[in-house]
Symmetry: C2
Subunit: 169 residues, 2 copies
Amino acid sequence: MQVAPATLEIKAESLSALEVESIELFIGFFKLIGLQKSVGEIYGLLFVSSRALAMDDIMTRLGISLGAASQGLKVLRSVGAVKSVYMPGDRRDHYVADLELSKFATAFIQEELKPRLDRALERIGTMESLASGMAPEERSTADERLERLKHWLERSESMLPWLLKFLVK
Amino acid sequence: MQVAPATLEIKAESLSALEVESIELFIGFFKLIGLQKSVGEIYGLLFVSSRALAMDDIMTRLGISLGAASQGLKVLRSVGAVKSVYMPGDRRDHYVADLELSKFATAFIQEELKPRLDRALERIGTMESLASGMAPEERSTADERLERLKHWLERSESMLPWLLKFLVK
DNA sequence: CAGGTATTTCATTTTTTATTGAAGCGCTTG
DNA sequence: CAAGCGCTTCAATAAAAAATGAAATACCTG
């Protein structure tokens, strides 16, 4: 019931050892800041490429789908990690890696970390109101802990501008 | 074909608004450092609890399974986020939240971030060797980029001790 | 502006990750 | 030292996240 041609093993074009190493490095790095594997793969490939690559080069080399390539590039563009360069006589967009590594860290801090800290501080406001209507005994526990959490979060948030400056340098 | 007793709606014990707010706050916060929802739920509940809770209190209040509670507490113990306190006349372990919030950040930096930076620097060493066997043209591209990445990673790593000191204060 | 080619979108499928709960371990205690 | 309770483990299941690829869209270009 199965048609399985023995000669059909057309996987992805093989990647060089350098490319594999770069791809693995960036998969790990990007996962840390919440970006998916395919995004890391694409950036890793572009990072060690000496020429700009079109989307279907990327698909072919990495063996990923059209959709994954398109969406991955969209994410990378949105954080400024790749830019497209004009290639005379070719209608396709060609991409190169932006080497300003600090951009990823900056995007992560501004788009993930900062909003989450802000949201947490908002919630603490709500919780303070809620605690104010509690019995004295439980209220004092809650108040103390909320105060402590608030201080820590404010302190952390106050460090972000410094951190950003350091990373961008 | 369905037996649906109208009176059967025995879900989890209801949580107070304060508890819900705390749980949501910590789910979000912990997700950021790669910890799962159930871990955030447990810590969030303990954070606003004025008394120590046993594992089955936690299960019942949150409506999570035995396994999830056990594993979640294991993770929280391992990062020092909860400690168990002795309750006379009760064989069960009882847990309270450790309020030293910096512990989570510290654990994250030391157990996730630092090792990943180290691994990345290792990989760069490998890549430098690989690049040295390439054609001059491609080699210079690779060398320049690797140098740049290495500097940025080293710089980031050099900041960690400072960051840790700041968070712990 | 017709006939493509490149790209995006998104419902479906696949893969990965988290949760469940029953089996079993080990400690306590009567 | 047996019986039971509390807890952990882990194979099975469920839920969430990511990838696929066909259809729709945008965009050249002759």
